[in-house]
Amino acid sequence: MTDTGRSYLHVPEPSFRPGDKPTFDEMIIPKAGAARRPPVDVHPDDIQDLARTIIRVMSSDNEAVGEWAASLSDEEALEGLKDMMRLRTMDARLLRAQRQGKTSFYMQALGEEAVACAFQKALEPGDMNFPTYRQQGLLITSGYPMTSMMNQIFSNSQDPMKGRQLGNLYSSKEHGFFSISGNLATQFVQAVGWAMASAIEGNDRVGVGWIGDGSTAEGDFHAGLVFASTYQPPCVLNIVNNQWAISTYQGIARGNAATFASKGLAFGLPSLRVDGNDYLAVHAVAKWAIERARKRLGPTLIEYVTYREGAHSTSDDPSAYRPKDEADGWPLGDPIERLKGYLIARGVWSEDRYAQMASEIEDEVAAAQRESEAIGTLLEGDKPGPRDMFEDVYEEMPPHLREQLAQSLKEAGEG
């Protein structure tokens, strides 16, 4: 790099680039069970340390330890494992489908499945997520049919968004999942507004904001924090720190100057930092924050420390900007492997049963895909038409759009 001698602009750089041998030695990882679990009505000033540590439950011996343990029964944890496996299996299949030209684009949640899956498990009907494109785990966990997701991915005639949206930008009001925008960060402050409405109406429904590490740089992130702090509505604000924002590492958004969680401290928000690959820890912290909201104690900011194992999207090739084997050294492990290890250590599960479940899930996902593909894929089969493009622009189609629709149908040979 040939910097002109006199310039001294600080441009943060990740420690490792392609060709380097990556390590995560600089990362300070507290022992599982080390962080205390304060009462939900704690004063935010008294838990500032929790914004700078990593709350962890599962130990390296696969045991759940410390004050945050035991938020879930074995049965519930097993359901969680299944949710994450279904999500990962679906992602892998749809990634392949994109390569085969059946959809235009795909984004997977590989490596960060625990965050959305475990969080959703702590929510109740009536609550509303304002997600980003990497929280399909919320939908899987809330029971949104996989075929509906696939119909949208394939933009076929059963696509609930009628061909209008990119595949990953789901919406399901019924499942507490707000329509995803392609524009980053916009939803974060909307979640706060939704929660303010809950407060105005005297309800205890919780609004949940989601944002990626990179997107915390947007103004809407800061708008979300100040509104949350000012009005103290029942919301939980989630930052998924998966270390990367396309090619820029979390340091460009200043995750290494101070933790993302600690950005809530200046607003007086209780702010927690949690191991995002620890299903039990994510669930326990989510439950704590949701209980606070439900008890009208105000918002909570949570940072999930995880790792984006795959490419940003099917348009991206991370080997151009980070070491190929960086994921292998990620010190917080794999969320599925860890929860599986925990259940096996509890004696309620085994490698054999896991293998059997994996093959059942593979069959289930394949069947959903067959069903969806039989209806149509991006370029083949039964597809949404021009009319779907013109409807819902307004409640009632104004005359100029009716005219354009007629012209469009004529062009398509349907008029």
Binding site: R164, G182, A185, A217, S247, P384, M389
Partner: protein, 337 residues
């Protein structure tokens, strides 16, 4: 002369501008180490160092605001907004600040800067990777708005934009990055290497702002187009066997009204075409100008061919896109009138 894609031509312009003037700095989301999601700034950081080409936080308002500060200091920022669809968080900085700085400070402070952004659809990008917001910029006094349609023009216009002392919105039709696109979406892509306008001279040259280009001469009707639609217009005219004169506007503000008026006065007919939504689109301005300058020469009402007044759809992309069919119908209409 070497043939280049539009991406390579844009990259080349950056290299030349940065070499010629150390005041030129380049930044934006993913533009530094990685060289941009469309690779338009690849190699710049390696060659010119991190202080002159760097990654920005995901904050478009910050990117444009910081560039204004740098420009006021005396630098010449050439910044990238990853997709034109993401310019809205920066709209206040663009409209209220960059565009008006010279005027409101009595000329004390200026904002010589280029805001590059990929524009337009045709890549199944859905509503947030496909928009054509040129009218939102052309409407603002103090901004210049430029849209190239070939690698040759992209390089020459970008160099002219960087050297210009006013803020320039530089819209890059992403569907043209790797090859000219004539609207025949089910045919395979023709790469730029097969196209004459991909001949890009090596060194420095500029294509002046405010000068349109007649890309196809004709006697019977004038088609006013820019960006992707230039190629659609040429192809449609050829396929329909209509002796159309196709004008590539290249710069929307300032607009080359002389070339437009001369052509329409000659042909007596005019079709205006753009991919953006119809209502209050830039086409409305063009129709007004043609009416103002050429009313007595017109033999038919001016036709407008545009995208529909809906968000840009994902799967109905080709129902939305004003392709050869829609343009052909409009051409027939003005020819029959």
């Amino acid at each position: 002369m070497a043939k280049k894609t539009m991406i390579e031509a844009i990259r080349d312009a950056h290299h030349i501008a940065m070499e010629a003037d150390e005041k030129v700095v380049v930044f934006g989301e993913d533009v530094g180490y990685f060289g941009g999601v469309f690779r338009c700034t690849a190699g710049l950081q390696e060659k010119f160092g991190k202080a002159r080409c760097f990654d920005a936080p995901i904050c478009e308002g910050g990117i444009v605001g910081a560039a204004i500060g740098m420009a006021a200091y005396g630098l010449r920022p050439c910044i990238e907004i990853q997709f034109a669809d993401y310019a809205y968080p920066a709209y206040d900085q663009i409209v209220s600040e960059a565009a008006r700085l010279r005027h409101r400070s009595g000329g004390q402070f200026t904002a010589p800067m280029v805001i590059r952004m990929p524009t337009g659809g045709g890549i199944f990008g859905g509503q947030t990777h496909s928009q054509s917001p040129e009218a939102l910029f052309a409407h603002v006094s103090g901004l210049k708005t430029v849209i190239p349609s070939t690698p040759y023009d992209a390089k020459g216009l970008l160099l002219a934009s960087i050297e210009d002392n006013d803020p320039v919105i530089f819209l890059e039709p992403k569907r043209l990055y790797n090859g000219p696109f004539d609207g025949e979406h089910d045919k395979s892509i023709v790469p730029w290497s097969k196209h004459d306008d991909a001949e890009v001279p090596d060194g420095h040259y500029t294509v002046p702002l405010g000068k349109a280009k007649i890309v196809r001469e004709g006697k019977d009707v004038t088609i006013l187009a820019y960006g992707t639609m230039v190629h659609v217009a040429k192809k449609t005219a050829e396929d329909q066997g209509i002796d159309a004169e196709v004008i590539d506007l290249r710069t929307l503000v300032p607009l080359d009204t002389e070339t437009i008026a001369q052509s329409v006065q000659k042909t007596g007919r005019c079709v205006v075409v753009h991919e953006a939504t119809r209502t209050c689109g830039y086409g409305a301005e063009l129709v007004s100008i043609v009416n103002e300058l050429c009313f007595w020469a017109l033999e038919a009402p001016v036709e407008r061919v545009t995208g529909w007044d809906t968000p840009y759809p994902h799967s109905q992309e080709w129902d939305y896109f004003p392709g050869p069919k829609r343009l052909g119908a409009a051409l027939n209409q003005v020819m029959e009138a």
